[in-house]
Amino acid sequence: MFPQLLVNSLIAGAIYALVASGFSLIYSTCKFVHFAHGATIAFSAYFLYFLFSDLGLSFGLSVIFTIIFASLLGWLMDKVVYKKLRQRKASKVILLMTSFALLIFFESLILMLFGADVKTIGYVKIARGFDFLGAIITPLQIVIIAVSLVLLVLLYFFMKRTKIGKAMRAVADNKEVAEVVGISAENIYSWAFIVGSAIAGIAAILVGLEQNLEPMMGTNLMIKGFTGAIIGGIGSVPGAVLGSFLLGFAENFGIWFLPSGYKDAIAFAILFIFLLFRHQGILGIGRNSK
């Protein structure tokens, strides 16, 4: 049974990582908890459903448009709402509250536009997974794990090599200093939202295919994604992916021994323990409060 548990954990971890990486990118740069990231994922998944199942666009086109839609949605949230609050130097608790309000708003909008009934994107047929060293896994699940790992590598290079990536890390490290050397923080915030939400688009596509769609999917994914991000180290994006895989493993191996009702309890207990003993997470940089 061990290989199958391993595969289940990898799949779960990969899905959480897709959610956590986007969220963590936005958090590390803009320094606030953007809970409405879940709504971006949910809305993008429904947008893919609208393009592919309703309008009947080709799957390839629908995917590209969905990713564009996701980054546009994230960018709009920043420009229309968060930017005003930043200009008024609103404190973190207000930004957090605003992200909750945005989450409620978008989830109700999805409910109004698409109704409450369960939707599935019928692109991938349900078929018995094939054997892979004694564990059963479907092609889509392999794609999810692969994309998640590739994403980790791409993100790593994006942050290390590209101009925007370095600027983001500079702003994340010290906004004032970054501005002194000519990086416009506002500009970088927009980029953080664009890239972070694009990742949310990718997550929406893969999760939308693997699971069915419901209006509240954003909140559920977001809670696990942010748990993974914190365990991995809220400040570091690769950490978020690592933390998400750890969460996937802990949950699945955990309920192998404990009654399965405790799946969420295990996840949150680990989160709590990490926040107490190593609050900066595995890869996080310990911000010693001066």
């Binding site: 409450a116 069915n212 009654p259 009702g261 799946k263």
Partner: protein, 379 residues
């Protein structure tokens, strides 16, 4: 006080005044008006089984062209979000402001249990289209429901599996919410009474999309079948992941979820051979008429509990007709409802017992192949 502050406070006050005027405006002409309140989770996680009953009611209202005898029928919808506190707020408003004559709802047992004492004290009859918790049976004289309690469903299904199919060792996978736990408890009690053995019990949280490890734990045991209690969305996930894991065990769903067209469409062949239990359909004619009319209005098939919403509304209308010029319409409706025997509803033949519960024959159905179903037994 700054300008913007005054604007905000102004908006709130105007809104409240408008609301009260709106209320008083309609309040007066109650003679020629029958008011029915509807409580259902229209948003939030439970909206997937809160919206269908509302649609069933809308269809029924349209069919009677908003009138009964010489009175106009008005339906007022309230969103409970499956939250007891919001349910109490909504029912207080329906009873004390709108002065409704009857209530259809709530959907979630938790809300029904919270509002039961209030409707009991205000003597307003309530018919729940979906609350299945056994506790509701003795929640009050004014509390009715058109769905069998989990207790009944669990017993019938346990009898069927133990005696008719003849299985002794099963596992249970249930959704960890009020409906799921209620069904699990009643099945387990009855099945063990009959000498069967529950080898493993696994659960999953509402809203989870990954039950692979739970299925694996069950696959690991030596059992003859899995009894599953789930809602529409989760049923698709369970069927999909069971197929993906190559689970060959026969699946028995103690839920009407498989009757939901979305589930069959999404699950595809992974649903073939699955057996589930639901309230027995009356003669086909009744159900087909309802489904065609529903399709015409909403251009999609009726989802779970839409039929129950439809029946609940028509039962109240039937009671109102009998009551004619009664002064205290609410109590009269209550008394009339207790006289309902073998009512041919679209959700099954309905007879109310002394506690307002419904005695409905249960049907065991088997899904032959992509959507085609066969009734195996009526118990």
């Amino acid at each position: 006080m700054s300008k913007t502050l005054q604007i905000i406070i102004g908006i709130i006050i105007i809104a409240i005044i408008v609301a009260l005027v709106f209320v008083f405006g309609t309040g007066k002409t109650t003679e020629g008006l029958v008011k029915i309140g509807v409580l259902a989770p229209l948003t939030g996680e439970a909206s997937q089984w809160g919206v269908p009953p509302k649609e069933g009611i809308e269809l029924a209202l349209e069919l009677i062209k908003n009138r009964v005898d010489n009175k106009k029928v008005e339906v007022i919808y309230e969103d409970t979000q499956c939250d007891p506190a919001k349910g109490v707020s909504a029912v207080q408003k329906l009873i004390n402001i709108d002065e409704v004559d009857a209530i259809i709802g709530a959907v979630c047992s938790s809300v029904t249990l919270a509002i039961a004492p209030i409707v009991e004290k205000s003597e307003v009859p309530l018919i729940s289209p979906a609350s299945t918790s056994p506790k509701i049976s003795d929640a009050g004289d004014y509390v009715f429901r058109v769905v069998p309690s989990d207790a009944l469903r669990g017993e019938v299904f346990a009898d069927y599996i133990k005696n008719d199919v003849g299985l002794n060792k099963v596992a249970i996978l249930y959704i960890n919410n009020e409906g799921g736990a209620g069904n699990k408890d009643s099945f387990k009690k009855r099945f063990e009474e009959l000498g069967g053995k529950i080898v493993a019990i696994e659960s999953y949280a509402q809203g989870t999309k990954d039950v692979k490890t739970q299925l694996m734990k069950i696959k690991n045991q030596n059992i003859q079948a899995i009894v599953i209690v789930s809602y529409p969305a989760d049923s698709v996930i369970i069927l999909k992941q069971a197929q993906e894991l190559g689970l060959s065990l026969p699946l028995y769903f103690q839920t009407e979820a498989l009757e939901d067209p979305f589930v069959l469409e999404a699950a595809g062949e992974s649903a073939n051979g699955v057996i589930y239990i639901l309230q027995a359909d009356p003669s086909g004619r009744e159900v087909e008429k309802f489904e065609n009319m529903f399709e015409e209005k909403f251009n999609r098939a009726p989802a779970l509990y839409a039929a129950e919403g439809f029946d609940a509304f028509n039962l109240i209308i039937k009671a109102i007709k009998e009551c004619k010029a009664e002064t205290d319409l609410s109590s009269c409706i209550k008394d009339e409802l207790y006289t309902i025997k073998n009512y041919q509803g679209v959700s099954g033949t309905i007879t109310f017992d002394g506690k307002g519960d419904v005695l409905k024959p249960m049907a065991i159905k088997k899904i032959i192949e992509n959507g085609k179903k066969k009734v195996l037994m009526i118990k």
